[in-house]
């Protein structure tokens, strides 16, 4: 068990290094001068040189990478070129906003996804199965940014029930768990929940069907266990994988929320990435991608470790 966890961490460390390297390389692949967005066209050579030294762009790539990593490990991701504020603070605020959205969406998706999956897996080839499978195909096929637009059209533009954009009433700075704020969360969270819902429902359906076919289920039934008793055993067998898929989906949503955040003007990481890209704010871009990717890697690690404690067969393999 412990050996498995150590092995899993040892495997993750080089990947984290690789991810950091890719984030760094990505930004330096970008064509053009990184300071072009803040330098006035008639800036003197002196000023250009000064700024380049200030941001460290005058040093060699390995040197820049090493100092970037060193500072990142201490929680300093540099200074945004466009706003002059610390990248770490901006990213953390945005991650908080996105995490809130993604957690609610994953929860909704998991709830309905497992419901559909169980019904479909239990009553295979019935109309309920076909309906559930159809819903899950829709879930994985729908362009979520379009679904967001359609929900805005119906519930904001036509019915006027819910706000179309933003993360709270205008003027309110911080998030609060009251209806004034929550109603801003409804549409983006519903839109986002469709993705994990489709995937979780597919996974759960396959797992339930597979479990029901196993001999121990026949044995339990022969022993005279009630349907509910058998159901508890099925849940026990399905839960580790379903929870693992849910964990991974949370990571995907966190990294993939940019399109939905754009539709709803949600002030999260997607919004931050978008402005970093269009303002060519390299430190901000680098920092946001690094934080999101690292979060995903760590989430993967956590999911694997939790799964191995729930299902000891994994660590023995």
């Amino acid at each position: 068990m412990l050996a498995y966890i150590v092995r899993r961490i040892a495997y993750t460390l080089p990947i984290m290094f690789g991810v950091a390297l890719v984030c760094f390389a990505l930004v330096h692949l970008a064509p053009g001068d990184p300071l072009v967005s803040i330098l006035p066209p008639d800036a003197s050579v002196d000023l250009q040189q000064q700024l380049r030294t200030l941001y460290g762009f005058d040093r060699s790539y390995p040197e820049q990478f090493a100092s970037w990593i060193w500072r990142a490990l201490q929680g300093d991701l540099g200074t945004s070129i466009a706003t002059g504020r610390a990248v770490t603070g901006e990213v953390l605020t945005a991650v908080g906003n996105t995490l809130r959205l993604a957690c609610v969406a994953t929860f909704i998706g998991f709830l309905f996804g497992s419901l559909f999956g169980f019904v479909a897996g239990y009553f295979r080839n019935s109309w309920a199965d076909r309906l559930a499978s159809f819903v899950s195909v829709i879930g994985v096929s729908v362009p979520h940014y379009w679904l967001g637009m359609v929900l805005v059209i119906i519930f904001a533009a036509q019915l006027n029930w819910l706000p179309a954009t933003g993360a709270g009433p205008s003027g309110s700075g911080d998030w609060a768990w009251d209806w004034e704020h929550l109603k801003h969360l409804v549409l983006p969270a519903l839109t986002m929940s469709v993705i994990p819902m489709g995937i979780i429902s597919r996974t759960v359906r396959a797992l339930v069907a597979e479990t029901l076919e196993q001999e121990f289920v026949v044995g339990l039934r022969a022993k005279g266990l009630t349907d509910f008793g058998v159901f508890k055993h099925v849940v026990k067998n399905v839960a580790p994988t379903a929870l693992a898929v849910m964990g991974l989906q949370l990571g995907y949503l966190l990294g993939g929320s940019i399109l939905i955040e754009t539709v709803f003007s949600w002030p999260g990481t997607g919004f931050l990435l978008n402005s970093a890209i269009f303002q060519r704010d390299l430190p901000l871009l680098q920092g946001t991608i690094l934080v999101l990717a690292m979060f995903f890697v760590l989430l993967n690690l956590l999911v694997d470790i939790v799964q191995s404690t729930l299902d000891p067969r994994i660590s023995r393999a």
Binding site: L26, Y145, L259, L292, A293
Partner: protein, 296 residues
């Protein structure tokens, strides 16, 4: 495509009267009505992409300030007009070409490169496997939407950069599948037998490995087309893909966002096209998987 060529490499069935591998795949596929409908829709979309520009009722580029955002069913504009007064029906038809191109090409490119890398890693094993697969793990460690947007965001907007970014996103996914299938096939008895009878590595891969691994990899790749369609249009939706005034569904969705309060259903049309396309590809891929009996 590659698959059609591979049919000849599949060993002839013992029963010479039998339908053969592809014959039986087709027989199973044919009885799946959902997959057949999806295949018909995909065929129709491909025909639209090929011949769309010849059947449009109006010029898809011709703007008219006087007839902006006309509702659906307007005389001469069956599906209304967009924010610059261009005929929606014509733009949706012509848009099929770029949209499908942007969705399918990255998967094809990644299928070629990813299979090659995965088969090489799986067959060679050892240090070659470690180098290839650990590098791929790094790219696999990024959520795909994040990687696609980060890459095309730094490379800059444009069709080529978007295609390149999406290809890079799909290579690790395909290579992982290719590597695992190849590793399985490599340890089979017939590969062992071929090696014992003195066949070279290249011959073994060409004759015994390719024919057995390309099918499952191909099925997996087809399931990525739906994802690719959504991502490619998503890049254009963000302004990172196709540039105006080219008709592409994701870009049209973006420029029509301003119209959701005035002509909401026109604004939603391009997204409906992306939805229908990606759903058809998903169902087609599911049907293929069942018909070819690939387990994943």
């Amino acid at each position: 495509m590659d698959i059609a060529v591979d049919a000849s490499k599949v060993p002839a069935p013992i029963d010479a009267q039998g339908p053969g591998y592809w014959g039986s795949v087709w027989r199973r596929f044919r009885t799946n009505s959902v997959a057949m409908v999806a295949a018909a829709v995909v065929l129709l979309l491909i025909l639209l992409a090929l011949f769309g520009p010849f059947i449009t009722p109006a010029d898809p580029y011709k703007a008219s300030m006087l007839s902006r955002l006309k509702p659906i069913g307007t005389e001469g504009h069956l599906l209304g007009t967009d924010e610059l007064g261009r005929d929606m029906l014509s733009r949706l038809i012509v848009g099929a070409r770029l949209s499908l191109f942007m969705g399918i090409v990255p998967v094809l490119a990644a299928f070629a490169i990813g299979s090659a890398l995965g088969i090489l890693a799986g067959y060679a094993g050892g240090a070659i496997n470690t180098v290839i697969m650990r590098t791929i793990d790094v790219f696999y460690a990024f959520p795909s939407v994040l990687l696609a947007i980060a890459l095309s965001g730094t490379l800059g907007a444009g069709i080529f950069n978007a295609l390149l970014s999406l290809t890079i996103v799909f290579i690790p996914q395909i290579a992982r599948v290719a590597e695992s299938v190849t590793t399985q096939v490599r340890s089979r008895d017939y590969v062992e037998a071929a090696r014992a009878s003195g066949a070279g590595a290249f011959t073994i891969v060409r004759v015994h490995v390719l024919g057995n691994v390309l099918g499952p990899i191909f099925v997996y790749a087809t399931s990525l087309i739906a994802v690719s369609m959504i991502l490619a249009s998503g890049l254009s939706f963000l302004g990172l893909g196709v540039k105006p005034p080219e008709p592409e569904w994701g870009l049209m969705l973006n420029t029509l966002r301003t119209a959701i309060y005035t002509q909401p259903w026109i604004a939603a049309l391009p997204g409906l096209m992306i939805f229908v396309t990606s759903m058809s590809f998903n169902m087609l891929s599911d049907g293929l998987r069942t018909a070819m009996d690939v387990k994943q």
